[in-house]
């Protein structure tokens, strides 16, 4: 057992604390090359990560950087700085601790590079940027430990892939570097250890006591949840009642849009004037900080929020978590609940508020899964090559490099351990020349091979452009929103696409207030206050979680019961009604409902294959429908169904679902669709083909720029085997396409189709009707619609077009 230096034991004694067993184990095994600690929040996980660093630094002899701490949130970095400062000061240790994020001042950043602190707290993007500087070897000299906090969150995204590549770089600079990962409870710790390890070195896994099971219930209200929608508005009185009974409540929503609407609605109902705030990633930083401060000070009874509050920030005395909308994923639910409550050894208390009848079923299924400790998750595939391309550019920005050495370094990262040399070389070629079949503008290539075989930037000034575009977070382009007038107060950001649909006078919600769109000036949306009770346009879209397939399977199994005593009466009755007017989905069969709605034929396919696979199914089915003259207009996918609308009904589903034809045509069918273009845009941006930031300020969004769709179409037409298309296909196949689950579904159902034709929307289809994320089909039906609409417009010659229906809507 490693003894702590006396200042530490004295400090623990003075506090009346004793060291947790997992904190002691972390100290004992501090010399191992990699350690993954899995512990609940409140269990002193962060201190467990830092204790070995503090102990090693306590004699005051270390020069320069010792420990690098990486967290997915910059707020977490500054929070940890505060929390670490207290024990360090109380023990009288002379340790310099600083954070470095996008918010750190330039002076401070420059100073950190010249004279780094002992402990630097930062984010994956800031670390990637640091490794892109020529002086990186000097800055990181002496680095001993790196702590990756919330590693389970990073492990699920490209931010993690980028981070682990950066760690591979650091390991080359500092061969003795030891790695520590701090994780919440996950279903497959081995997968995370694989990412954290420096291959082929091992990574040990330490499991701390998981603490008591959370106390989670579904909030049952007198009023039944609505048939459809995702707002949870019906439950506001019951939620307000809960807020009153607790000290601080966090009210989580799955999207920013829902959070905005809910916040608006809860204030309309908040007759007692309870102090309630809102917090999400689209709000202006100042606004967010104000809410954070008020919360830490205990001035707020409740905060309406999204995933930005998800990670382990110390939010004061939260004693209730409310999740509005189905949790979609059991693991995330458990982590969210476990985390927001910081009291160790006390069960976290949480309430689920289903937003509609279907979500009641989802919530009950999720609660059962939590009870059984059945976490869900899907393994990620090999490391994405778009991130690797960016890593190559970052490496080049730092100075000339040897391809052999870089390849050897890259395959020490778990996600890239199976990367072949040929795949790596293709990425180098892409970064150097664009990698096109047609060799063009060779004299302008980005990377050049020197006489000594090393690669370097052709134009050293390119380093600046590369640094400006570091990162893998894919946000749609956003515009700032401000009140009109000089020095108008900033409110937050909205997606450029949403801004483009606004016309003067339109009202929308942001930061909990209704504002009126006035004009777009210098890429800022100018708004004025509006006194209306209801916004004309709900608000912008947010990202959506996908329900895990494990949870979906539980739901289908529940459907098979003769009755549902565990469900509230209203929901049990709804399922019974569905069974009466149509039928419920069954394992091993495929239910398809066909009904008219809004002047279009609607077809609901209940595949329960998860959102991404259902999305692909929508693509493939609509393509086949287009070919067979059924004139599909579009579709949307949820985790359990695909809803297609068009001009003509499906009469014989068998041929449409023939797996062989689906597979044969996948490539061709995918080529022209919007999902592929969206995936391409994301990957091309990460790989550096599309630059979001250029030295000549932000792109104007006017005719100077052209859509990434044009690049995609051009490549597909002239260079179909190009690396970027290859990456796009791979990304889409495992991410947005998920064809594996379609194959699995087809194998499951064979030819057992239940096609039911009805004269109206069925109870089960109702929630689908208001889902967002509609994918238009640009087929013959579009030309028909255009002609129809143009004829109508021209017949009212001289008159302006009718106010258009907005596609950006969010179900209430």
């Amino acid at each position: 057992m490693s003894a702590l230096p006396p200042q530490f034991t004295d400090w623990f004694t003075a506090k009346g604390w004793s060291i947790h067993p997992h904190q002691q184990t972390m100290l004992d095994r501090a010399s191992e090359p990699a350690l993954l600690l899995i512990a609940p929040t409140g269990g002193g996980k962060t201190l467990a990560g830092f204790l070995p660093s503090l102990a090693e630094l306590s004699d005051g002899t270390h020069e320069g950087l010792h420990t690098l701490y990486i967290s997915p949130l910059k707020a977490l970095a500054s929070d940890i700085k505060r929390n670490l400062r207290t024990p360090v000061d109380e023990m009288g240790l002379s340790i310099r601790i600083e954070d470095r994020t996008g918010d750190t001042s330039q002076t401070q950043k420059n100073r950190q590079r010249a004279d780094p602190p002992h402990i630097l707290l930062t984010t994956p993007e800031s670390l990637a940027l640091l490794t892109s500087y020529e002086d990186a070897p000097r800055m990181f000299a002496g680095l001993r430990r790196v702590i990756v906090d919330e590693i389970h969150a990073l492990a699920e995204s490209k931010r993690g892939d980028q981070l682990f590549l950066a760690l591979a770089r650091l390991q080359s600079l500092c061969p003795d570097l030891r790695r520590v990962g701090l994780s919440a409870t996950v279903e497959d710790p081995g997968a995370i250890a694989h990412l954290l390890a420096c291959h082929p070195d091992p990574c040990a896994i330490l499991q701390a006591d998981p603490g008591p099971l959370p106390d989670i219930k579904m909030l049952v209200t007198d009023e039944a949840p609505p048939w459809s929608g995702s707002g949870g508005k019906y439950a506001i009185p019951a939620v307000l009642e809960q807020v009153k009974q607790h000290k601080t409540t966090l009210i989580f929503h799955n999207t920013r849009a829902q959070a905005e609407l809910y916040f608006h609605n809860i204030w309309l109902a908040n007759s007692d004037g309870l102090p309630i705030g809102i917090h999400h990633g689209s709000l202006d930083r100042q606004q967010r900080e104000k809410v954070e401060q008020a919360m830490v000070a205990g001035d707020l009874k409740a905060i309406v929020c999204t995933g930005t509050l998800d990670l382990g920030i110390d939010w004061g005395d939260v004693d209730l978590i409310i999740q509005v909308g189905a949790p979609k994923n059991v693991k995330r639910l458990v982590q969210r609940i476990g985390r927001a409550n910081h009291r160790y050894n006390a069960p976290s208390k949480a309430l689920l508020v289903p937003a509609n009848r279907f979500e009641v079923v989802e919530c009950v299924a999720a609660l059962e899964a939590v009870k059984e400790g059945a976490l869900d998750g899907d393994p990620r595939g090999p490391g994405p090559r778009d991130v690797l391309c960016q890593h190559i550019l970052i490496t080049a920005a730092a100075g000339p490099f040897e391809a052999d050495a870089l390849y050897a370094e890259v395959i020490t990262a778990g996600a890239y351990s199976t990367l072949t040399r040929a795949e790596f070389d293709a990425c180098i070629d892409f970064c150097a020349t664009g990698g096109y079949a047609l060799r063009a503008y060779d004299q302008w290539q980005r990377l050049q091979r020197r006489a000594d075989g090393q690669w370097q930037l052709r134009d050293p000034r390119a380093a600046q452009r590369i640094r400006m575009n570091i990162g893998t977070i894919q946000d749609t382009d956003t515009l700032k929103v401000r009140f009109k007038g000089r020095g108008g107060k900033p409110l937050g950001e909205i997606e450029e696409g949403f801004a483009a649909t606004l016309t003067a006078g339109d009202t929308f919600l942001i930061g909990g207030q209704i504002v009126r769109y006035d004009s777009l000036r210098e890429m800022t949306v100018q708004v004025t206050r509006d006194a209306a009770k209801k916004p004309k346009i709900a608000t912008f879209l947010g990202t959506k979680f996908a329900t895990s397939t494990q949870l979906s399977q539980r739901i289908i199994e529940m459907f098979q019961q003769p009755g549902w005593p565990e469900l509230p009466a209203h929901t049990a009755e709804w399922l019974a009604l569905q069974r009466k007017v149509s039928r419920l989905p069954e394992p091993g069969r495929l239910l398809i409902e066909s009904f008219p709605h809004d002047g279009r034929v609607h077809t609901a396919v209940y595949g329960f294959a998860g959102r991404n696979a259902m999305q692909t199914l929508g693509l493939l089915l609509t393509k086949r429908m287009e070919e067979t003259g059924l004139n599909p207009l579009g579709f949307l996918a949820t985790d359990y169904a695909t809803l297609i609308w068009g001009l003509d009904p499906i009469r014989d589903p068998g041929p449409l679902f023939d797996i062989q034809s689906l597979r044969d045509g996948l490539e061709r069918w995918l080529a022209g669709n919007a999902v592929m273009k969206r995936t391409f845009r994301a990957s091309a941006t990460i790989a550096g083909l599309i630059e979001c930031n250029t030295p000549s300020a932000r792109k104007s969004g006017r005719q100077a720029t052209f859509s990434s769709d044009i690049l995609y179409d051009t490549l597909a037409k002239y260079d179909p085997d190009h690396l970027m298309l290859n990456i796009t296909r791979q990304e889409a196949m495992r991410g947005l396409v998920d064809f594996g689950r379609i194959e699995e579904m087809c194998a499951r159902i064979e030819d057992r189709f239940d096609l039911i034709t009805l004269d109206r929307v069925t109870p089960l289809a109702a929630p689908l009707m208001l889902e967002v994320g509609r994918v238009p089909i640009k087929g013959l039906a579009e030309e028909k619609l255009l002609a129809e609409e143009a004829a109508r417009l021209m017949s009212t010659a001289g008159l302006p077009p009718e106010p258009s229906r907005k596609e950006w809507r969010v179900p209430f």
Binding site: L438, D459, L689, F706, T714, L715, P801, R805
Partner: protein, 218 residues
């Protein structure tokens, strides 16, 4: 193809974004921006797929074939800049020469390419072909004028769907052409720049497989 009458001339707006004047055998295309990928790479930007010139020329060849035009007017910004015009690969240079063979070919100067003189054809600041005047950028107060430069696009809201395409803008005095080049973006017709130029009763013709005429969205 969409028939229209502009200042007494019977014209056809092609779905590709080209304008055909059968009486004179004139095909007009604007803002080809040939060599854009080269220019971006030269300036240290990304190496975009180098296929935009052949894509643009393929469409132009198709339109020439279909219309049998005797005169071609390139309405400015034909090359992304003069260096891009000079750096054009031999193959694409020859392609342009082949397209020019047996035709009168007029390069109108644009703001990106003031006179690519290495290429055959006539180089003009503007062209008067009664009753019309062809110039790159619309001039205030001028009538019977066909211009390009702004890359207009227009959005039509149909039931539940907004469709945006490059578009011709037409009123009694002015016609603004959409950009013909593959690597070109667009400026929405309701942008103040365009609503200032065009009269209140202006129309837009959306390009595409079946060009559609609508009141200009503003």
């Amino acid at each position: 193809m969409c028939d229209l009458t502009f200042c007494g001339a019977a014209l056809k707006a092609l779905g590709s974004g080209a304008l055909f004047w059968p009486a004179e055998g004139v095909l007009c295309v604007s803002d080809l921006h040939l060599g854009k990928a080269e220019r971006i790479a030269r300036r240290g930007g990304a190496a975009l797929p180098p296929y935009e010139t052949r894509d643009t020329l393929t469409r132009l060849a198709t339109d020439l074939e279909a219309t049998r035009a005797r005169t071609v007017i390139c309405l400015g910004d034909s090359f992304d800049d003069l260096a891009a015009a000079r750096a054009m690969p031999e193959e694409e240079r020859l392609w342009i020469t082949r397209l020019q063979a047996g035709r009168r070919w007029i390069w109108i100067e644009g703001n990106h390419d003031p006179g690519p003189i290495e290429y055959g054809g006539t180089h003009l600041g503007e062209l008067h072909l009664a009753p019309l005047t062809f110039r790159h950028i619309a001039q205030t107060g001028k009538t019977r004028e066909i211009s390009g430069h702004y890359h207009p696009k227009a959005t039509l809201h149909t039931r539940g769907r907004a469709i945006t395409r490059p578009a011709f803008l037409i009123d009694s005095d002015k016609l603004i052409m959409p950009a013909y080049g593959t690597y070109t973006g667009g400026l929405r017709s309701h942008d103040a720049v365009l609503t200032r130029i065009m009269r209140a009763d202006a129309r837009a013709i959306l390009t595409g497989a079946h060009p559609i005429e609508i009141p200009m969205p503003r």
